[in-house]
Each structure stands twice: as C-alpha cells, then as structure tokens.
Symmetry: C2
Subunit: 241 residues, 2 copies
C-alpha cells in the first residue's frame, strides 16, 4: 500500500496550513494552467484521484458537473472534505489508488492533482482510469516534475549569482525520501518518458503537456518564485481515451 503520509499528525497539520489547503484552487499557482486543460464540465461525470479537501470536486459541481466522486487514502482529509461539502451529487470514498477499482465507462473526466508521484503501481491505476472513462473521456493530471523528484539531494545551489538545480539520478526510477512538512516523505521518481509511455500503453492519446513554471505576472507578485522558471516544479498532462 502507498505510504499514507497525510494521516500522520505532523504532515497533516503542515498540509492543512498551506495556502492551497486553506484558500482552495486559486491559491495554487499552477491551477490556471491545469484548469485550461479541462474539458467543458456541464453534465459531466468526474472522478478526482487524491481529492484531498474536495476543492476540485466542489469546483466541478459549481461549473455544472452532474456527479462527482472524490477519492483519497487519507481519512483526515476526507473528513474535512465532507465537513466542507453540502452537495448530494458529490461522493467521497476512501481508497488506495494502487488497488482502486472503478466502474466501467462511469466517468467523462478523471482528474488528479499532485498525487500520482506517491504511487508505486501506476500502470494498474492508468488501466483502471482508462476503463472507467467513456470513449472520448479526458484524463487531466498534475505531478511533481521529474526534475524535482530525480536528485539524490534536492535543492537549489547558487552559481555566479544564478539559481541552478543540480540533477542526478534522472534515469534511476524509484523511491526518493524527502523531508517536506514531515520527515521521511516517500515519493516515486519516474522519468517524463515513463509517465507518457505508461499512458500510451494504457490506451490513452496524449493531448497536451505543460512543464509548468510561474507566469511573468505571478513572478511580479511573488519575486521569490522566479527561480521556478529555471526548472519547472510541476508537470501537467492532458490525455484522451
């Protein structure tokens, strides 16, 4: 089973205090780019893989989605999501995404934000998602960029006054243990090719890829984000069944 770091008290407290946890989607700088990848939502059936506090589930309902299923492994997060949701068309379900089963053809959009890099068995999930989507359905997700997860010692260095991000281990896929909000958070490093080839092997067509970095406007508002354009922190992918 996937490490459920979200239900450790230290991590949950830290995660709950992040802007994107408190204020929702608009506090996530990559959200406008991810939102631009979404299909029209009115009357669509949506599944959110790693729904956390349910911000995206509620967003899709406000945008007209017919029914929404939010899935997460964290009891704490689902409890908070349920507290914040009063909508019978949104269902929250606890499940491990590595062993999840979904009904065939039950969804028009599968979505996942910053979750898939925790999973070891991504091929099984991609097969489930493909099966669960209607023909023409979309799979839109974000992950930590492989350049983020690759290094044995993640972090910026300063060289001649510039931020540089030293990369090693890029082709050595497997677990990386980092200290982020709590000690010993395990993420799975995969190459960009691995993500895309797994999608293609599951039957998806790649529609668009976005190696996300902050916009000029975002850097003007948050000058400390400028370094994130030196190496993208997130990878956003849109695929169709």
């Amino acid at each position: 089973m996937t490490q459920n770091i979200y239900d450790t008290p230290e991590f949950f407290a830290g995660y709950s205090a992040l802007p994107r946890s408190v204020q929702g989607l608009d506090a996530a700088p990559e959200w406008p780019a991810l939102r631009a990848m979404l299909p029209d939502l009115p009357d669509r059936r949506v599944v959110d893989l790693g729904c956390g506090f349910g911000w995206f589930c509620r967003f899709t309902r406000e945008a007209g989605a017919r029914e929404v299923l939010g899935i997460d492994v964290s009891e704490n997060m689902l409890a908070r999501a349920r507290e914040m949701t009063a909508d019978p068309a949104i269902t929250y379900r606890r499940a491990d995404l590595e062993t999840l089963t979904l009904s065939e053809g039950a969804f028009d959009l599968a979505y996942s934000s910053l979750t898939l890099h925790y999973l070891k068995n991504l091929a099984a999930l991609f097969a489930q998602v493909h099966r669960a989507l209607a023909s023409g359905g979309r799979f839109v997700f974000s992950i930590e960029h492989p350049l983020m997860t690759a290094p044995s010692k993640q972090g910026w260095r300063i060289e001649d006054g510039r931020h540089v991000w030293p990369v090693d281990g890029y082709l050595a896929e497997g677990p990386r243990t980092t200290d982020w909000l709590a000690k010993g958070v395990v993420k799975q490093h995969r190459t960009m090719a691995a993500y895309l080839n797994l999608l293609i092997a599951a039957g998806f067509s790649i529609l668009r890829i976005d190696e996300w970095g902050p916009t000029d406007a975002q850097i003007a508002a948050h000058p400390e984000w400028a370094c994130e354009r030196e190496r993208p922190p997130f990878l956003l992918v849109s695929a169709s069944r």
Copy 2:
C-alpha cells in the same frame, strides 16, 4: 536560414573524425534504441532529415526500403555521402530543413538523427513531414535532450563524489551557443513539452518516448559513460501520422 556549422572547416574536420562518422550507425550508442523504434522497412519509402554521410539511408536500403531520400544542408556532408553510396534508389538533396517542401504522401517513414535541435522553425518542418507521410506513416527522431541544451553553462559538476548536472533556463526557450568541435555552435533549446506539443499540433500521435541513457552493458564497456545516466543526453521520439 539555419546556421550551417557543418560546412565550416573546423567543425567538419572534427565531425568527420567522430566514431559515428567513421564507423556509422553501430558507433552511435543510442542507435539500438532508435532502431527499435523503426517500423518494418521492406518496401517502405524513407526520408532522412539531416542525413549527414548517409549511413541511415544506406541502412534502410539494406533492410529492404524501396526508395530513400536523404536531405542535408551541408554540401560537404552530401558530397561524402554520394561518394559512399552506389545505389540508384537513394537520392541526396541539399535543402534547409526550415524551408523544405516535400511531396504529399510520398513517404512511409521520416527519420532524423540529432538534427532538429538546430532548427528555429520546427512547426513548419513538422507540418511538412506530416503532409509528406502516408496515413499511418511514422516519424522517428532523436535530438539532444532538453536537459542538455537548457543550461546557461553546460557541464558536469562533482558534488560529494557524484556527477551532477546543474540545470537553469529550462523554460527559457531559444538559442544556446556552445563550443563543440568549433566555437559558436548555435542550438535551439526547447522544452520536452514544446517538442511533443508541436508534434501533436501538427497532427501526430505520440507512440513512444525514450530519454536515452547508456545500458549496463555499454557502461561496462565504457565506464566513463556512467554519468550519462544521471541526466539523459538524448531524447528519442516515435510518432505516427
């Protein structure tokens, strides 16, 4: 027009002495991986974009291709290719790949090895290649990996005894000037997303991506290549029309 560095004497002399120039495809460590992406060749019509000394053109004919067109911007390289070729089914043509036009539906395979990162206007070429391929035709190419072309100061550093490759400027697409065989060689840096999105926009379906690094057997034979697994030197892509 694209910089034609291959026809400067210093570069041509250096390039002509590389193992892959003297010994052909088998001296290129990425060749087995690129070859594995090729479709069956018997009776196919092939175009090689940046054919150099014509090694790939001759390989495809030996594998049964019906007719082969090799295109390059370098007169020196085409002259050498013609000297090494005695086969009426292979034609060599001088053209700038940025302004190239090809006949509609004239090919079953378009191939390009380590050439496209020299081009500024890749969208025009991808549109030409798409138009020139028969339905179901394949486009297989290699480029320098975007991690190679991105940095403002390319090169390995040693940190705690490990090779690390400092990345900056990844999202800043545009020219990079390096000294490789000659001074002032200009390559165009693009993100991985840019290459793939340009292919998709031209109408291609992505079939497979390989962020190439040396195999264990290659490292056993060339221990000095081990660092190339820390960050892949080449990106190999297979797409279909």
